[in-house]
Symmetry: C2
């Protein structure tokens, strides 16, 4: 875990993150408030209940936002990808855990300072509103995807979403990718159990819709069939 100061000029998401809305002078001022940090898989950036002291932009890797219910089962509420923004603005203490799903790099700001920056730089405020609106849309689409549907449907749409993310160019045919999430994490995201997720994957493999390569590799053989199942 390193804590260097910021080097925006080599930032991999400088064109698309919220801070891209700033001009050079403003960006420099903002950079002075934050620092760079690396996270190893499993390491947490923020813990539920703790003082909600930081917000951050994700540069590399994947984060998850999670909660735990009474009996200790994990629920994944959102996945965060590079250029994404995390941290609950305005909330005195954090509601959810933010944990790295893979080794990751973030750009961390003290929450208070960031809130002040939002006031000082209206363009940053607008970018934040845009991101927040998007997050809201995604949270709702996850909500719609996760309730009242069968296990296969959930798993199939999950795989489709990953395939789309991994292969931005719309080539209808086979694509291969590695799962960032464990079975348990997929289960926590979809509201299922580990066993059910596993069973649905073998079922899809038996039906020649996907092909598994090790525990993490997925090859989509029949994208059309997969969408069919996901409907």
């Amino acid at each position: 875990m390193s804590r260097d100061s910021l080097a925006c000029n080599v930032c991999p998401v400088r064109e698309i993150a919220a801070c891209a809305a700033l001009n050079d002078r403003e960006r420099e001022e903002l950079a002075g408030l934050g620092h760079h940090r690396t996270l190893k898989r499993g390491q947490s950036l923020l813990e539920a209940g703790a003082d909600n002291t930081v917000s951050a932009t994700l540069l590399k890797g994947v984060l998850k936002i999670t909660s735990f219910d009474e009996d200790g089962t994990e629920r994944i509420l959102s996945l965060i990808h590079p250029a994404g923004f995390v941290g609950e603005l305005f909330a005195p203490s954090a509601h959810y855990d933010i944990v790295a799903l893979s080794d990751a790099e973030v750009c961390v700001f003290p929450r208070r300072e960031y809130e002040k920056a939002l006031e000082r730089f209206p363009s940053l405020g607008r970018a934040a509103l845009r991101r927040s609106s998007n997050e809201l849309l995604e949270a709702r689409s996850l909500l719609a995807a996760v309730t009242g549907r069968t296990a296969v449907q959930k798993v199939a749409s999950f795989l489709l979403a990953l395939a789309r993310a991994a292969n931005p160019h719309e080539t209808g045919h086979a694509s291969r990718f590695d799962l960032v999430l464990t079975r348990g994490e997929i289960a926590a995201l979809l509201g299922l159990t580990i066993e059910t997720v596993s069973r649905q994957l073998t079922r899809l493999e038996n039906e020649r819709i996907i092909l598994r390569d090790g525990a993490r590799g997925i090859l989509i053989q029949d994208a059309a069939g997969l969408s069919q199942v996901a409907r």
Copy 2:
């Protein structure tokens, strides 16, 4: 359905809605862009797929934000209460339906105009970000509440939420309120079926935890027991 111009001075939510962030002059300018409208129960303010032309502040009544999956079953993604703000900013077309659950009054703005106002009045932008962050929190808490829990748990927490909303003063004991939602709507919100919702309600009544007064009236007899069941 009337379409009068705005009268902010008698607005029931003038102190707490997003526009409360504006000073008198700014508010007057914003008021010039919008108009007042009444909705009857079941009437929709915005339909999924349609051009996303409006946004609105709710003055009175309750709205729902819904989607429909392939087989036509409704999913309620959010309930909106007075002072709440609806309308998908930045999206070219609407993703979800917005429908009145009760007779309602809203304050409607052309979306474009409202977006411009957000830029012109930074304080309004900040208020919008605050609201959006809150919506996000609520969407996530619904997501957590609705997945991986039993039917009784869902129904019980739903009743508790309503009781809290109806009775802001924290009196631990019995409170009475009327359901705004039909069984079908409760089911669509919790990801259950009408029959299951009904059964859980009679079950809670048999256990002397609640008492039903007609189809809509609910009397909470044992709040502690209810939280117990909801956990």
